[in-house]
């Protein structure tokens, strides 16, 4: 079972992102479960969501406490909440930022992890460019696909195409593809280094 925890703020599409990832896994004939952790449902409040992916039926309904991957849609949460709780040293993390881990003040933290599994992607910028709005949810899943290979980019794009229509779908698809390429290049650079 592969477990993902999403962190973001109300209005950023945190819940939608988890559902899109579940839909992408479903399209690969796998079992998936996406669910939110609702607190007070306010725009801008910290929000978590979860996605489990497995080859067999998922029976549990407990929250994800030991994620295999973290997707952090809003870097301003980094020093507010305990975002990294339960992430193992083999874990993956993707942060929506134009800055590096060093610039984010996380250089000490990343030392314990496999460096090629902790990456940043400028998802809000890519969303602004391709979509016209800084909504990082679907975009980051393109990057997640390049980072983990847990779902293919095609499945992510198909899930976006099913959820949205018209220009919103096209913009998200273009931005997710760009995020995929960005993360793929970032990984290759790290692997070569």
């Amino acid at each position: 079972m592969f477990q993902v925890r999403f962190h973001g703020r109300g209005g950023q599409g945190v819940v939608t992102a988890a559902e899109l990832l579940a839909a992408a896994a479903f399209s690969e004939d796998r079992h998936a479960q996406a669910f939110p952790s609702f607190g007070s449902e306010r725009m801008g409040a910290p929000v978590m969501s979860f996605c489990r992916i497995d080859d067999q039926l998922i029976r549990t309904h407990e929250p994800v406490t030991e994620p295999d991957a973290l997707i952090i849609q809003d870097p301003t949460l980094l020093h507010q909440a305990d975002l990294f709780a339960g992430l193992g040293t083999d874990g993956y993390m993707l942060i929506n930022s134009t800055r590096s881990f060093e610039e984010l003040g996380l250089d000490e933290f990343v030392k314990d992890f496999r460096r090629d599994r902790l990456l940043v992607v400028p998802a809000s910028s890519l969303a602004l460019t391709h979509l016209g709005r800084p909504l990082p949810g679907g975009v980051m899943l393109g990057g997640f696909s390049a980072l983990t290979g847990v779902v293919s980019l095609d499945s992510v794009l198909a899930a976006i195409g099913e959820k949205f229509t018209g220009q919103v779908a096209a913009g998200n698809v273009a931005a997710a593809r760009a995020a995929f390429e960005f993360v793929r290049d970032e990984r290759e650079a790290l692997t070569d280094a």
Partner: protein
């Protein structure tokens, strides 16, 4: 057709395929997505029904009563305080014998106000005369609605389909959506036993005095017992039509040789099964008994499932019965095991474990630890799983230190340093 959708959406699709003529609802978290989806379907014409956006839950059930008495298939959904607010009409629907189907998206009852899951809402209506069916998964939630209309209309008794708020209603999972043709073949059009018809006037809801009240109640009581057979038969028929096991009275899992058996309702069963698999891998003989029909309570089926190898029965409860020895379902389980002349021979202990109140996560880790205690005989008769005894103790200290210690709920939140509540 297999689909990856939110539980609320799956239920809305299932309800729509049951072709209700009247849907009346007042939105309340975590039920809202179900009635939102249905109202959208009515608006687009996809579902040919009257959707009434009423001003309260009391009105929602009252409209359902009127619609059903006029011969229409009627549906509503609610949760928590909403269910309490409609309570008077809930009793009336059952007393009048009107086969309304209602989803309860299970949520805690205040105070303190809490939007998260437990079972205290539907349990509060335990004796209202409604059938209560509990869904373990979103697939079962979907399937139970289709079965519920069939059972309700066959018996002229209303049915509550209980599904865990957020845990199921807001979870996107894989479900197999039937086709409308399949549902039509399984669920015939509603033929009411009583109907308000201007061409053939009757009165429904007469005052009944001592001369017949006991008899009216007795008949309803007996009909409720007969519903056990109908629930079982409808589940068998459902399996024949749709090719999967869903609904019915009980769902045993690895109970045949189990020495410790957990009895539970709803979505926690999945997590319990995972815990049981873990413990079985270590050689522990544990099993699970899921209760799908909470009302009517399937006492005979429960006793048969538990009598054998099981020594210790652990009743996992998402609700409490204040002023008793613990849980609500524990009383039913104890009665089932001790019925006159039919006593269960093997079971030596029945324990209550209260878990998952107000959205507290029920984790596999805590369940495994609790079941290990049960197996070695150290589980107390009543346990509040993962209770923060320090937090309780500090509030007791504050209460003994000063008379005006203030509101306990706020004191305990402040103690934890929490300004806004969160799940987990």
């Amino acid at each position: 057709m297999l689909k990856q959708i939110e539980g609320s959406r799956a239920v809305a699709e299932a309800v729509a395929m049951c072709r209700p003529r009247v849907i009346c609802a007042y939105p309340i978290t975590p039920q809202t997505h179900i009635v939102e989806a249905l109202s959208a379907m009515v608006k687009t014409g996809e579902l040919n029904a009257e959707f009434l956006n009423v001003e309260s839950e009391f009105a929602a059930m009252s409209v359902a009563i009127g619609a059903c008495a006029a011969g229409a298939r009627a549906y509503t959904a609610t949760a928590s305080q909403g269910l309490l607010f409609m309570s008077e009409a809930v009793y009336n629907a059952a007393g009048l014998g009107l086969p309304i189907v209602m989803t309860v998206a299970n949520r805690a009852i205040g105070a303190p106000i809490n939007i998260w899951n437990d079972h205290s809402d539907s349990m509060s209506q335990r004796d209202a005369g409604w059938l209560q069916l509990f869904a373990e998964t979103n697939q079962e939630a979907l399937d139970l609605h289709i079965q519920a209309f069939r059972i309700a209309e066959e018996m002229s008794i209303p049915v509550m389909v209980c599904m865990d708020g957020f845990l199921l209603t807001h979870a996107s999972e894989r479900v197999d959506l039937p086709s409308p043709d399949q549902v039509d073949a399984f669920l015939p059009p509603y033929v009411p036993r009583q109907v308000l018809d201007p061409d053939d006037p009757v009165s429904i809801g007469a005052m009944v005095g001592p001369e017949a009240f006991t008899e009216v109640r007795y008949l309803a009581f007996e009909r409720m017992r007969q519903a056990l057979d109908v629930i079982r038969d409808v589940a068998i028929g459902f399996q024949a039509e749709f090719g999967r096991v869903s609904g019915g009275l009980i769902r045993p899992y690895l109970t045949d040789d189990a020495e410790v058996v957990v009895v539970a309702l709803g979505s926690v069963l999945g997590t319990v099964k995972d815990a049981v698999d873990d413990l079985r891998a270590g050689g522990m003989r544990v099993g699970v008994l899921g209760i799908t029909a909470f009302r009517p309570f399937p006492a005979d089926a429960v006793r048969e499932a538990l009598d054998g190898t099981s020594r210790h029965v652990v009743v996992l409860e998402r609700a409490i019965a204040p002023g008793t020895s613990g849980g609500i379902m524990t009383a039913d389980i104890r009665m089932a095991l001790a019925s006159a002349g039919l006593g269960c021979r093997s079971v030596q202990h029945v324990s209550t474990v209260v878990a998952g109140l107000g959205g507290r996560a029920v984790t596999r880790r805590s369940l495994c630890a609790m079941l290990t205690d049960a197996a070695d005989g150290s589980l107390e008769p009543l346990t509040f799983l993962d209770l923060d005894t320090g937090l309780v103790g500090r509030e007791l200290d504050r209460m003994s230190a000063t008379r005006r210690s203030g509101p306990s709920a706020e004191n305990m939140l402040r103690d934890l340093g929490i300004t806004a509540s969160r799940i987990g």
